[in-house]
């Protein structure tokens, strides 16, 4: 099975980010068709398409669209979540950089269907290059009359704004993103059933539709070709429809974004990306760093689909597929993953804030060759204490990969603890990747509060 190019069909056409080129290749036809339809019909098409959220959770998109109240006693908002931060993922970057009009069109369709007053595209602060393209696309859309007052003569007013983040992974979580949009620290809020859904009381306490960049980019294609047509793609899977962009990185020959139909096998995706480089396959993380790892033997028959990967004990997630060859050290990989979550934990809830730091410190102890045999059980216990007990999914996302790596590669952890060095420590390939010896993160906000300050006060540096 080859690539199935829907979102990325024209992505390599020169100047596709310009309005003229986009329109000449069928752009904005979906919007023109949508405004001729009743609003509920648009939502029904999305329902028929079986489109599920592409940001990680796979929540059916139409439920969110349909959940927005049908009256406008309060203003409605649409938010595009382009705060792409999941290590291994770069699909939104490509979609915004090369096809910004597709996203803008999707945002307008979503705004029309949900009677929205305005839309906000939340882009992470680092993504300057592609945010400039999105800005350009919005300006062109205003000029062409697709945005602003009385869009396409249908009496529908809609404005689109870009909001730039400032470097926080946590803001990719929807309630934290809304906090950030309201000018607060990017910390998550209480969620359903303890608080109303965002579709009832989201940003500024108004009904809010919040979708991932890729989900919204699909909307024009669903409206243009019909929901039933879209639902045929990937019909071999249980409940995953359409195409998905997978960002393949790590030890592959041709890293990049590959759009495939759901139901394609994981190994076919790796073949598309040019196969494993630098040695035999050791493991694949199919859905971004938050998802449990799959060792090579389990990758062979893995099928890409929400339920299909769930059966394998991992998830589609955001589609950040990272490939590790045989020279990679899983213990170091686990440490770097934990390190990431400890850095990005927002500090709101105790299990995540403290648990992630303890995980890093235990793993650091193992890396320094001072690991204790009981450390593996201790790590698993910390994972259990975080998983399901944290305020938002960041805690789960920190616990799953470490637990998965211990489950699948326990022998490597045991070897490291017993010998004080990695199972691949002597290989030159690994030495090219390994973090420096006695490596210490410079940020004083990290661990120094547990031991660094005391050490500093004792004058030992």
């Amino acid at each position: 099975m080859a690539e199935y190019k829907l979102l990325t069909q024209h992505i390599d056409v020169p100047d596709f980010y310009q309005m003229q080129v986009y329109e000449s290749l069928g752009g904005y036809l979906g919007l023109k068709k949508a405004v001729e339809m009743e609003r509920q019909e648009v939502i029904d098409e999305i329902k028929k398409s079986g489109l599920r959220g592409r940001g990680g959770a796979g929540f059916p998109a139409w439920i969110k669209w349909n959940g927005i109240p049908k009256d406008t006693s309060k203003p409605h908002y649409v938010i595009c979540n382009s705060d792409e931060g999941e290590p291994g993922t770069f699909k939104d970057w490509e979609l915004m950089h090369k096809a910004p009009h597709q996203l803008v069109e999707g945002m307008i369709i979503a705004g029309y269907a949900t009677l929205a007053k305005a839309g906000y595209i939340y882009i992470r602060g680092e993504y300057v290059e592609c945010a400039q393209r999105v800005r350009h696309a919005i300006d062109q859309a205003y000029e062409a009359g697709y945005l602003g007052k009385n869009i396409l003569g249908k009496g529908f007013d809609y404005d689109l704004y870009v909001h730039m983040g400032a470097g926080s992974y946590e803001c990719g979580e929807e309630s934290a993103l809304m906090s950030s949009l309201m000018g607060e620290r990017g910390q998550p809020r209480l969620k359903f059933p303890h608080a109303p859904l965002p579709t009832i009381a989201g940003v500024w306490n108004c009904p809010t539709l919040i979708n991932n960049c890729e989900t919204l980019s699909v909307a024009p294609h669903v409206i243009n070709n019909g929901g039933e047509w879209y639902a045929q793609i990937g019909a071999s899977t249980k409940n995953s429809r359409g195409t998905k962009l997978f960002s393949v990185s790590g030890h592959v020959n041709k890293p990049g974004n590959y759009e495939i139909e759901f139901g394609t096998s994981l190994m076919e995706l790796i073949e598309l990306a040019g196969g494993v480089s630098g040695g035999a396959l050791k493991a694949i993380i199919p859905g971004g760093s938050s998802m449990p790892i799959l060792p090579a033997d389990q990758c062979q028959d893995a099928i890409l689909g929400y339920e299909e990967l769930m059966e394998k004990g991992t998830m589609v997630g955001s589609g950040g597929c990272m490939v590790l060859n045989e020279h990679s050290c899983i213990v170091t990989f686990a440490w770097r993953t934990a390190e990431f979550y400890a850095h990005e934990s927002c500090g709101k809830c105790t299990p995540c804030r403290e648990g992630t730091r303890w995980m890093v410190q235990i793993l650091e102890r193992i890396l320094q060759g001072k690991g204790r045999p009981e450390d593996i059980e201790l790590l698993l216990e910390v994972c259990d204490q975080i998983d399901g007990r944290s305020f938002c999914a960041l805690g789960d996302a920190a616990a799953w990969p470490v637990r998965g790596m211990i489950k699948q590669f326990r022998n490597e952890f045991e070897y490291f603890i017993e010998h004080g060095k990695s199972i691949v420590a002597d290989r030159p390939e690994w030495q090219r990747m390994a973090p420096p010896k006695h490596y210490e993160r410079y940020n004083p906000m990290r661990y120094d509060y547990t031991y660094g300050i005391e050490r500093a006060l004792a004058g030992k540096g």
């Binding site: 931060g85 999941e86 290590p87 291994g88 770069f90 939104d92 970057w93 882009i123 602060g125 680092e126 993504y127 300057v128 290059e129 945010a131 999105v134 800005r135 300006d139 205003y142 704004y161 870009v162 909001h163 730039m164 983040g165 400032a166 470097g167 926080s168 949009l181 309201m182 000018g183 620290r185 990017g186 500024w204 393949v248 990185s249 790590g250 890293p255 990049g256 974004n257 760093s289 950040g320 990272m322 590790l324 990679s328 990989f333 770097r336 993953t337 990431f340 090219r432 990747m433 973090p435 420096p436 490596y439 993160r441 410079y442 940020n443 004083p444 120094d448 500093a456 006060l457 004058g459």
Partner: protein, 211 residues
């Protein structure tokens, strides 16, 4: 001075200046830009992130206590609230950085592609440790979490530009190129971000008010 003691000093909480004590430093254009940004949201508070980007540009790449106080004053929020937001996000600088911030990604995919070796090479080449600035104030070397261009790993960010598929040779060329450049990468990034958030109509209005 002991490095850790120095780090603690840097992170010591600054005393909030009183509003009447601070000289306001936002230029006329910046004030108009702030007005335009505030108009994008239903309330003033929501413009806090864009306003901090503006302040970072106006104050030369660092959010000093005065910068935070000015943002608080202009958005009618308390100093503590603005400081709380400014310290939460990693891209707002709380201390003076070098002219060029070299931010090397060492997250998973970049690590697999050898970014730690590049980091060591840069430390040796520039003669500084991670998190430090060169004595001439040109380069600050930092490590960042995933920049999400893992397909082109190893990646590093200098201001508003991503440098992809980095190697030792490319690093040498980049450093040489930066040494001859007049740009200030930190303020350049802040300026780019402010301009992205302003629509063409906003920019036209600001330009016409200047004439």
């Amino acid at each position: 001075m002991d490095r850790n003691v120095e780090l603690i000093r840097i992170t010591e909480r600054p005393k909030p200046p009183r509003p009447e004590e601070i000289p306001l430093r936002f230029s006329e254009t910046a004030v108009q830009e702030l007005d335009a940004l505030v108009s994008h949201y239903p309330d003033k508070k929501s413009a806090l992130l864009p306003a901090l980007w503006l302040a970072q540009r106006e104050y030369g790449g660092v959010l000093t206590p005065e910068a935070i106080a000015e943002v608080a004053l202009r958005l009618e929020r308390s100093y503590a609230e603005v400081e709380g937001v400014a310290t939460f996000y990693t891209m707002y600088n709380k201390q003076q950085m070098g002219k060029f911030m070299l931010e090397v990604c060492t997250n998973l995919s970049c690590m697999l592609c050898g970014s730690y070796r590049l980091l060591e090479y840069l430390e040796e080449k520039l003669g500084i440790r991670l998190g430090e600035t060169t004595p001439d104030g040109l380069f600050t070397l930092t490590e960042v979490e995933c920049l999400n261009n893992c397909g082109d790993a190893p990646v590093m960010q200098v201001g508003d530009v991503y440098c992809r598929k980095m190697s030792v040779e490319k690093m040498d060329a980049l450093i040489d190129q930066l040494r001859g450049s007049d740009e200030h990468s930190v303020t350049r990034l802040a300026d780019a971000i402010v301009n992205i958030q302003l629509s063409a109509a906003d920019k036209a209005r600001i330009a016409s008010e200047h004439e």
